[in-house]
Structure formats: C-alpha cells, structure tokens
Symmetry: C2
Subunit: 148 residues, 2 copies
Amino acid sequence: MQRKIIPDIVTGQTINSAKVDTTVMDAAKKMASANIAAITVEDDDGKLIGIITERDITQRVVAKGLNAETTSVLDVMTKNPDTLSPNDSAGDALELMQSRNYRHLPVTEDGKCVAMVSVRDLYKAAKEQLEENIRETEAFVFGDRYGA
Amino acid sequence: MQRKIIPDIVTGQTINSAKVDTTVMDAAKKMASANIAAITVEDDDGKLIGIITERDITQRVVAKGLNAETTSVLDVMTKNPDTLSPNDSAGDALELMQSRNYRHLPVTEDGKCVAMVSVRDLYKAAKEQLEENIRETEAFVFGDRYGA
C-alpha cells in the first residue's frame, strides 16, 4: 500500500519553529536542544514563511563571517520553501528531495507547518517498503499463504 | 554480491580536510565551497585526527556564542572518530551509522582519510541492492533466465 507522509512516515512530532524576530544564534540553540538539522520560520499568524538549516548557518552565516547574535533568521533562511501535504506519498516526497537535493521538507496544512520530514525518514520507509515487497514476493513464491 | 565501501559506494572522491591551525570559519568556507556537510581534520603527517560537521558548527560554535573566526577546529571537532576501511561492506557501515546516529564516516587507510561516506550514499546503495534482489527473485519466479 502506498505510504502517506502522515501518519505513515511521521506522526505526533513536536514542531520547532523560529519567529520573525529570532536571531540565528537563538535558532541554533533551538536546533541544538532538539538535536535537529532544520527548523521552520513562521510569521505572527503561525504561517510558514521559511526554513533554516544547519547548512544555511554554516554556509550563509559562519562562512560569510556574519555575527549570529545580531543576524536575523529572516536574512539567511530559505524563503517560501517547497512543502509536502500530509496526503502526499512517501515516494513522491523522496523524488522531490532527490531531484532538488533537499534533506528536509516541511509538511503544511492551511499554510501552517504540522511536521518536518527528513530524507532519512523517507529512505527508511522506502527500504521497509522494498523489504515488505520482497517478503510478499517470497511468500507468494514459496507458498506459505496458499498452502502450496 | 556484498558491496564494499570502495569502490562500490564511493570512488575517486576529492578529500576536503582541515589542518590543525584551521579556524571554524575557514572550515565552514571549505564546506560551503564544496557544498558538503563534514570535513576531516588531519595532523601535520596527514593522519586523521578528527571530523567537523555542519552540526558541530551549529551546536558547538553558533549556539554557544563562540567566535568562529578565532575558534580552532581542534576545539569543536569530534576527536578520533569511528572510521570505515575500504573493504567494509555497505551493510556494516549502514548499521554502524544507524546505531550511533552518524551521518558521515571517514574511510581510512594507514591512518589517512581516503574517502568520506554519507548515510545518504549508503541508503542509496542499500535501496539499489534491495531492488536488485527483487529483480532477481522475479526473474527466478517468472523464469526469464530459465526458459520456463
């Protein structure tokens, strides 16, 4: 069966997000305390407006010599990121991530972020799906379901 | 057939490494220009002594308010990281990465780093291996190799 982003890949996640007035240093603290690689940025209505990752912090702040304590997440985030819907399939999501070289994608409902999916979550699901296919093929071949 | 780290998973990589006197900012620049998430740190004899990742920069430098321009990679790298050998299997490497939650592992020969493997490289290989298994099982079942 085709797996959907919610609930098959992720479910019951705590969403870690930054506000428009969050500094890069505070975003890094949030990422560090949750041990995650990316957080979303939302406006005052809670709508998703961007995403900021460890890569953005490394490449757009540290490598550029910016001061993380005074730089706003608004200046280094990726604006209006691609998103998934809860009903998207795991396969479609993985294809999108591979083709654009993303490692994380926010899942939104009515413009608000309800989950974050990583390429690792998706590979894991894809691997499980393939293993299930193998088990089913073998079960068919060796007949343990058909009394052969 | 069991896939080996070199040459089945990675081959002909350019190794990006920092020296003992590299600052975090310069390490970030190297990572940014190669668009990679981790680089190795080597001593004056070229031996691997550590690894520094985007996560280390985010969590150990930016979140802590350290100055990347004056902080040495020696102070924030992971010392004496686990490594792979070129002859290790992809499956063993993936298991090690999953159990310890690594995203990158250096591959060493005589103490020197000869490649860097990411969990993404390994998932990709594992997926291809499973797909190959399915094709082989199907070929056996539906007999295109045995003239059934």
